[in-house]
Protein backbone atom coordinates (compact mmCIF):
# COMPACT_ATOMS: atom_id res chain seq x y z
CA UNK A 1 0.00 0.00 0.00
CA UNK A 2 2.84 2.39 0.87
CA UNK A 3 5.18 1.31 -1.91
CA UNK A 4 4.24 4.16 -4.20
CA UNK A 5 3.08 7.63 -3.19
CA UNK A 6 0.05 8.76 -5.20
CA UNK A 7 1.69 12.12 -5.78
CA UNK A 8 0.00 13.07 -9.03
CA UNK A 9 -3.39 12.21 -7.52
CA UNK A 10 -3.04 14.48 -4.50
CA UNK A 11 -4.21 17.70 -6.17
CA UNK A 12 -7.23 16.01 -7.79
CA UNK A 13 -8.01 14.46 -4.39
CA UNK A 14 -7.75 17.90 -2.72
CA UNK A 15 -10.17 19.27 -5.31
CA UNK A 16 -12.60 16.44 -4.74
CA UNK A 17 -12.22 15.15 -8.30
CA UNK A 18 -11.60 11.54 -7.33
CA UNK A 19 -14.36 9.04 -6.88
CA UNK A 20 -14.87 5.36 -6.28
CA UNK A 21 -11.89 3.06 -6.05
CA UNK A 22 -9.45 5.82 -6.96
CA UNK A 23 -10.56 7.96 -4.04
CA UNK A 24 -10.55 5.00 -1.68
CA UNK A 25 -7.02 4.07 -2.74
CA UNK A 26 -5.64 7.58 -2.17
CA UNK A 27 -7.39 8.02 1.17
CA UNK A 28 -6.19 4.65 2.37
CA UNK A 29 -2.65 5.64 1.45
CA UNK A 30 -2.93 8.98 3.26
CA UNK A 31 -4.08 7.23 6.43
CA UNK A 32 -0.98 5.04 6.48
CA UNK A 33 1.67 7.40 5.05
CA UNK A 34 3.64 9.80 7.19
CA UNK A 35 4.69 12.01 4.28
CA UNK A 36 1.80 12.44 1.87
CA UNK A 37 -0.57 14.32 4.22
CA UNK A 38 2.12 16.96 4.77
CA UNK A 39 2.76 17.03 1.04
CA UNK A 40 -0.93 17.54 0.38
CA UNK A 41 -1.00 20.42 2.85
CA UNK A 42 2.05 22.03 1.19
CA UNK A 43 0.48 21.65 -2.23
CA UNK A 44 -2.69 23.35 -1.05
CA UNK A 45 -0.80 26.37 0.26
CA UNK A 46 1.50 26.54 -2.77
CA UNK A 47 -1.47 26.54 -5.12
CA UNK A 48 -3.05 29.35 -3.12
CA UNK A 49 0.14 31.39 -3.31
CA UNK A 50 0.50 30.81 -7.05
CA UNK A 51 -3.12 31.82 -7.61
CA UNK A 52 -2.57 35.09 -5.73
CA UNK A 53 0.63 35.75 -7.65
CA UNK A 54 -0.95 35.11 -11.03
CA UNK A 55 -3.77 37.49 -10.14
CA UNK A 56 -1.19 40.20 -9.43
CA UNK A 57 0.50 40.03 -12.83
CA UNK A 58 0.57 43.46 -14.47
CA UNK A 59 -2.22 44.01 -16.92
CA UNK A 60 -2.47 46.39 -19.85
CA UNK A 61 -4.87 49.28 -20.25
CA UNK A 62 -7.90 47.30 -21.29
CA UNK A 63 -9.54 49.92 -23.46
CA UNK A 64 -6.33 50.22 -25.46
CA UNK A 65 -6.10 46.43 -25.58
CA UNK A 66 -9.61 46.20 -27.03
CA UNK A 67 -9.01 49.05 -29.49
CA UNK A 68 -5.93 47.29 -30.78
CA UNK A 69 -7.89 44.04 -30.96
CA UNK A 70 -10.65 45.72 -32.98
CA UNK A 71 -8.09 47.13 -35.42
CA UNK A 72 -6.50 43.73 -35.88
CA UNK A 73 -9.88 42.09 -36.35
CA UNK A 74 -10.97 44.71 -38.88
CA UNK A 75 -7.74 44.23 -40.78
CA UNK A 76 -8.32 40.48 -40.78
CA UNK A 77 -11.93 40.80 -41.90
CA UNK A 78 -11.26 43.35 -44.65
CA UNK A 79 -10.86 41.66 -48.03
CA UNK A 80 -7.25 42.15 -48.85
CA UNK A 81 -7.85 41.73 -52.58
CA UNK A 82 -10.43 42.70 -55.11
CA UNK A 83 -12.37 39.91 -56.85
CA UNK A 84 -10.26 40.10 -59.99
CA UNK A 85 -7.15 39.95 -57.86
CA UNK A 86 -8.54 36.93 -56.08
CA UNK A 87 -9.14 35.28 -59.45
CA UNK A 88 -5.55 35.93 -60.41
CA UNK A 89 -4.27 34.67 -57.12
CA UNK A 90 -6.37 31.54 -57.53
CA UNK A 91 -3.95 30.64 -60.31
CA UNK A 92 -1.00 31.06 -58.03
CA UNK A 93 -0.28 27.33 -57.75
CA UNK A 94 -0.13 27.03 -61.54
CA UNK A 95 2.02 30.13 -61.80
CA UNK A 96 4.29 28.78 -59.11
CA UNK A 97 4.63 25.53 -61.03
CA UNK A 98 5.51 27.51 -64.17
CA UNK A 99 8.12 29.55 -62.37
CA UNK A 100 9.56 26.38 -60.90
CA UNK A 101 9.75 24.79 -64.36
CA UNK A 102 11.50 27.86 -65.76
CA UNK A 103 13.90 27.84 -62.86
CA UNK A 104 14.69 24.16 -63.42
CA UNK A 105 15.31 24.71 -67.13
CA UNK A 106 17.48 27.75 -66.37
CA UNK A 107 19.47 25.77 -63.87
CA UNK A 108 19.89 22.95 -66.35
CA UNK A 109 21.20 25.39 -68.97
CA UNK A 110 23.53 27.02 -66.50
CA UNK A 111 24.69 23.63 -65.35
CA UNK A 112 26.00 22.95 -68.87
CA UNK A 113 28.48 25.75 -68.29
CA UNK A 114 29.25 28.88 -70.30
CA UNK A 115 29.36 28.71 -74.05
CA UNK A 116 32.87 27.78 -75.23
CA UNK A 117 34.50 30.61 -77.14
CA UNK A 118 35.35 29.45 -80.63
CA UNK A 119 39.05 30.00 -81.32
CA UNK A 120 39.97 32.30 -84.20
CA UNK A 121 41.53 29.42 -86.09
CA UNK A 122 38.30 27.47 -85.75
CA UNK A 123 36.36 30.49 -86.93
CA UNK A 124 38.51 30.68 -90.04
CA UNK A 125 37.96 27.00 -90.61
CA UNK A 126 34.26 27.45 -90.30
CA UNK A 127 34.28 30.31 -92.77
CA UNK A 128 36.24 28.19 -95.20
CA UNK A 129 33.80 25.35 -94.79
CA UNK A 130 30.92 27.75 -95.33
CA UNK A 131 32.54 29.14 -98.45
CA UNK A 132 33.19 25.70 -99.82
CA UNK A 133 29.65 24.75 -99.06
CA UNK A 134 28.35 27.72 -101.01
CA UNK A 135 30.82 27.21 -103.80
CA UNK A 136 29.92 23.58 -104.21
CA UNK A 137 26.31 24.52 -104.71
CA UNK A 138 27.03 27.33 -107.26
CA UNK A 139 27.59 26.90 -110.90
CA UNK A 140 31.12 25.68 -111.35
CA UNK A 141 31.05 27.02 -114.93
CA UNK A 142 31.36 30.57 -113.64
CA UNK A 143 34.70 29.72 -112.12
CA UNK A 144 35.95 27.88 -115.19
CA UNK A 145 36.83 31.08 -117.13
CA UNK A 146 38.32 32.88 -114.15
CA UNK A 147 42.06 33.45 -114.69
CA UNK A 148 44.24 32.10 -111.89
CA UNK A 149 47.79 33.10 -111.11
CA UNK A 150 50.02 30.06 -111.27
CA UNK A 151 53.27 31.71 -110.43
CA UNK A 152 52.82 34.15 -107.66
CA UNK A 153 56.55 34.75 -107.53
CA UNK A 154 56.31 36.64 -110.84
CA UNK A 155 54.13 39.21 -109.20
CA UNK A 156 55.92 42.19 -107.85
CA UNK A 157 54.68 44.25 -105.02
CA UNK A 158 54.32 47.21 -107.36
CA UNK A 159 52.64 45.20 -110.08
CA UNK A 160 49.21 44.78 -108.49
CA UNK A 161 47.66 46.42 -111.51
CA UNK A 162 48.23 43.16 -113.33
CA UNK A 163 45.95 41.44 -110.86
CA UNK A 164 43.32 44.09 -111.17
CA UNK A 165 43.24 43.71 -115.01
CA UNK A 166 43.78 40.00 -115.40
CA UNK A 167 40.63 39.68 -117.48
CA UNK A 168 41.98 42.21 -119.97
CA UNK A 169 45.20 40.32 -120.59
CA UNK A 170 45.69 38.55 -123.90
CA UNK A 171 46.44 34.80 -123.73
CA UNK A 172 50.09 35.43 -124.60
CA UNK A 173 50.28 38.05 -121.91
CA UNK A 174 48.66 35.67 -119.50
CA UNK A 175 51.31 33.05 -120.11
CA UNK A 176 53.97 35.66 -119.55
CA UNK A 177 52.39 36.61 -116.30
CA UNK A 178 52.06 32.96 -115.28
CA UNK A 179 48.27 33.07 -115.55
CA UNK A 180 46.22 30.20 -116.89
CA UNK A 181 42.55 29.78 -117.49
CA UNK A 182 40.67 27.09 -115.72
Amino acid sequence: MLRRHPEADLIPWLRGELAGRERTRVEAHLQNCGECPAQAQALTRALGLIAREVAQLPTPEWSAFRSELRRKLAARKAPSRLPWQQAIFAWRPLAAAGVAAIAIVSLAILHRGPHRAVPVTDQLGLEQLAFEDVASRTDVGLLRDYPMVERLDLLENDNYEVIEHLDELAPSDSKAAGVRHL
Binding site: A38, Q39, K72, R76
Partner: protein, 190 residues
Protein backbone atom coordinates in the same frame (compact mmCIF):
# COMPACT_ATOMS: atom_id res chain seq x y z
CA UNK B 1 -32.26 35.86 -11.33
CA UNK B 2 -29.09 35.98 -13.39
CA UNK B 3 -29.62 37.83 -16.66
CA UNK B 4 -26.03 37.65 -17.76
CA UNK B 5 -25.66 35.47 -20.83
CA UNK B 6 -23.41 32.49 -20.42
CA UNK B 7 -20.17 32.15 -22.33
CA UNK B 8 -21.76 29.47 -24.43
CA UNK B 9 -24.69 31.72 -25.36
CA UNK B 10 -22.35 34.56 -26.23
CA UNK B 11 -20.30 32.23 -28.39
CA UNK B 12 -23.43 31.22 -30.31
CA UNK B 13 -24.23 34.89 -30.89
CA UNK B 14 -20.68 35.57 -32.04
CA UNK B 15 -21.09 32.75 -34.55
CA UNK B 16 -24.05 34.78 -35.88
CA UNK B 17 -21.73 37.81 -36.23
CA UNK B 18 -23.01 39.63 -33.13
CA UNK B 19 -20.28 42.17 -32.42
CA UNK B 20 -21.77 43.18 -29.08
CA UNK B 21 -21.60 39.59 -27.88
CA UNK B 22 -17.95 39.52 -28.94
CA UNK B 23 -17.24 42.71 -26.98
CA UNK B 24 -18.92 41.25 -23.92
CA UNK B 25 -16.97 38.03 -24.12
CA UNK B 26 -13.69 39.90 -24.64
CA UNK B 27 -14.30 42.06 -21.58
CA UNK B 28 -15.20 38.99 -19.56
CA UNK B 29 -12.10 36.97 -20.47
CA UNK B 30 -9.46 39.51 -21.45
CA UNK B 31 -7.66 39.59 -18.10
CA UNK B 32 -7.53 35.83 -17.70
CA UNK B 33 -6.48 35.22 -21.28
CA UNK B 34 -3.79 37.88 -21.04
CA UNK B 35 -2.45 36.45 -17.77
CA UNK B 36 -2.58 32.94 -19.15
CA UNK B 37 -0.69 33.79 -22.35
CA UNK B 38 1.73 36.12 -20.59
CA UNK B 39 2.49 33.52 -17.93
CA UNK B 40 2.99 30.67 -20.38
CA UNK B 41 5.18 32.75 -22.66
CA UNK B 42 6.91 34.58 -19.81
CA UNK B 43 6.62 37.78 -21.77
CA UNK B 44 3.93 40.41 -21.44
CA UNK B 45 4.27 41.79 -24.97
CA UNK B 46 3.96 38.33 -26.51
CA UNK B 47 1.15 37.56 -24.09
CA UNK B 48 -0.73 40.61 -25.30
CA UNK B 49 -0.31 39.64 -28.96
CA UNK B 50 -1.30 36.04 -28.37
CA UNK B 51 -4.30 37.04 -26.25
CA UNK B 52 -5.54 39.28 -29.07
CA UNK B 53 -4.88 36.58 -31.62
CA UNK B 54 -6.88 34.14 -29.48
CA UNK B 55 -9.86 36.49 -29.50
CA UNK B 56 -9.56 36.89 -33.26
CA UNK B 57 -9.54 33.11 -33.64
CA UNK B 58 -12.57 32.98 -31.36
CA UNK B 59 -14.41 35.44 -33.60
CA UNK B 60 -13.47 33.53 -36.73
CA UNK B 61 -14.26 30.06 -35.45
CA UNK B 62 -17.10 30.57 -32.96
CA UNK B 63 -19.34 28.52 -35.26
CA UNK B 64 -17.13 25.51 -34.60
CA UNK B 65 -17.90 25.45 -30.89
CA UNK B 66 -20.36 22.57 -30.61
CA UNK B 67 -21.21 22.94 -26.93
CA UNK B 68 -20.07 19.45 -26.01
CA UNK B 69 -17.45 20.90 -23.66
CA UNK B 70 -17.39 24.03 -21.58
CA UNK B 71 -16.63 27.18 -23.51
CA UNK B 72 -13.61 27.83 -21.29
CA UNK B 73 -12.13 24.43 -22.13
CA UNK B 74 -12.56 25.04 -25.84
CA UNK B 75 -11.29 28.60 -25.70
CA UNK B 76 -8.28 27.90 -23.49
CA UNK B 77 -7.26 25.16 -25.84
CA UNK B 78 -7.00 27.85 -28.51
CA UNK B 79 -4.95 30.03 -26.16
CA UNK B 80 -2.56 27.27 -25.10
CA UNK B 81 -2.10 26.03 -28.66
CA UNK B 82 -1.29 29.54 -29.81
CA UNK B 83 1.23 29.91 -26.99
CA UNK B 84 2.92 26.61 -27.80
CA UNK B 85 2.96 27.41 -31.53
CA UNK B 86 4.44 30.80 -30.75
CA UNK B 87 7.20 29.24 -28.68
CA UNK B 88 7.96 26.70 -31.37
CA UNK B 89 8.16 29.41 -34.01
CA UNK B 90 10.57 31.39 -31.89
CA UNK B 91 12.63 28.46 -30.74
CA UNK B 92 15.58 29.20 -33.05
CA UNK B 93 15.69 32.73 -31.71
CA UNK B 94 15.61 31.54 -28.13
CA UNK B 95 18.58 29.30 -28.88
CA UNK B 96 20.55 32.30 -30.09
CA UNK B 97 19.59 34.37 -27.06
CA UNK B 98 18.52 31.91 -24.37
CA UNK B 99 16.25 33.77 -22.03
CA UNK B 100 15.22 30.80 -19.95
CA UNK B 101 16.23 27.37 -18.81
CA UNK B 102 17.17 24.83 -21.48
CA UNK B 103 14.60 22.55 -19.89
CA UNK B 104 11.95 24.82 -21.34
CA UNK B 105 12.84 23.52 -24.79
CA UNK B 106 11.03 20.30 -24.05
CA UNK B 107 7.28 20.36 -24.36
CA UNK B 108 6.91 16.91 -22.88
CA UNK B 109 9.47 16.53 -20.12
CA UNK B 110 10.19 13.08 -18.74
CA UNK B 111 8.16 12.21 -15.70
CA UNK B 112 10.00 12.51 -12.41
CA UNK B 113 10.21 9.39 -10.32
CA UNK B 114 8.22 9.65 -7.11
CA UNK B 115 10.01 11.80 -4.61
CA UNK B 116 11.58 9.98 -1.70
CA UNK B 117 11.22 12.96 0.61
CA UNK B 118 8.01 14.84 -0.04
CA UNK B 119 8.46 17.13 2.95
CA UNK B 120 6.62 20.44 3.20
CA UNK B 121 8.28 23.58 1.80
CA UNK B 122 5.72 25.87 3.28
CA UNK B 123 8.20 28.09 5.12
CA UNK B 124 10.26 28.59 1.99
CA UNK B 125 7.22 29.49 -0.07
CA UNK B 126 6.02 31.95 2.52
CA UNK B 127 9.33 33.79 2.41
CA UNK B 128 9.26 34.36 -1.31
CA UNK B 129 8.12 37.52 -2.94
CA UNK B 130 5.60 37.51 -5.69
CA UNK B 131 8.27 38.61 -8.18
CA UNK B 132 10.39 35.56 -7.45
CA UNK B 133 7.50 33.25 -7.99
CA UNK B 134 6.83 34.79 -11.38
CA UNK B 135 10.43 34.33 -12.44
CA UNK B 136 10.39 30.75 -11.29
CA UNK B 137 7.19 30.12 -13.25
CA UNK B 138 9.15 30.84 -16.42
CA UNK B 139 11.41 27.88 -15.72
CA UNK B 140 8.62 25.34 -16.02
CA UNK B 141 7.91 23.66 -19.32
CA UNK B 142 5.01 25.13 -21.33
CA UNK B 143 2.83 22.13 -20.51
CA UNK B 144 3.59 22.39 -16.79
CA UNK B 145 2.96 26.14 -16.78
CA UNK B 146 -0.26 25.70 -18.67
CA UNK B 147 -1.44 22.96 -16.32
CA UNK B 148 -0.63 25.01 -13.21
CA UNK B 149 -2.21 28.17 -14.57
CA UNK B 150 -5.30 26.41 -15.86
CA UNK B 151 -5.72 24.93 -12.41
CA UNK B 152 -5.05 27.96 -10.21
CA UNK B 153 -6.49 30.61 -12.49
CA UNK B 154 -9.30 28.88 -14.32
CA UNK B 155 -10.02 26.27 -11.68
CA UNK B 156 -10.09 23.57 -14.33
CA UNK B 157 -10.16 19.93 -13.26
CA UNK B 158 -7.43 17.54 -14.36
CA UNK B 159 -9.85 16.14 -16.94
CA UNK B 160 -10.46 19.61 -18.36
CA UNK B 161 -6.73 20.40 -18.33
CA UNK B 162 -6.21 17.18 -20.26
CA UNK B 163 -8.80 18.32 -22.80
CA UNK B 164 -7.03 21.66 -23.22
CA UNK B 165 -3.56 20.12 -23.50
CA UNK B 166 -4.86 17.25 -25.63
CA UNK B 167 -3.28 14.62 -23.44
CA UNK B 168 -4.51 11.89 -21.13
CA UNK B 169 -5.91 12.78 -17.74
CA UNK B 170 -3.06 11.01 -15.97
CA UNK B 171 -0.51 12.99 -18.01
CA UNK B 172 -2.30 16.21 -17.12
CA UNK B 173 -2.12 15.26 -13.44
CA UNK B 174 1.62 14.62 -13.76
CA UNK B 175 2.14 17.99 -15.50
CA UNK B 176 0.21 19.72 -12.73
CA UNK B 177 1.96 17.91 -9.90
CA UNK B 178 5.39 18.33 -11.40
CA UNK B 179 4.76 22.00 -12.07
CA UNK B 180 3.66 22.74 -8.54
CA UNK B 181 6.38 20.68 -6.86
CA UNK B 182 9.07 22.18 -9.08
CA UNK B 183 7.83 25.62 -8.13
CA UNK B 184 8.03 24.68 -4.48
CA UNK B 185 11.51 23.23 -4.89
CA UNK B 186 12.89 26.16 -6.88
CA UNK B 187 11.46 28.66 -4.45
CA UNK B 188 13.12 26.81 -1.62
CA UNK B 189 16.47 27.02 -3.44
CA UNK B 190 16.26 30.71 -4.25
Amino acid sequence: MNLEPTDEELCQRIAAHDNMAFETLVERHQARVFRMAGSILGNEADGRDIAQEAFIRLFESAHRFDGRSRFSTWFYRIVVNLCIDHQRRNRWWRKVLPLSSPREESDEPPIDPPSEQPGPELDAIRSQTAGNLREVLKQLSPAQRAAVLLHVQEDLSSREIAAVLKCSESTARVHLHRGVTRLMKMLKET
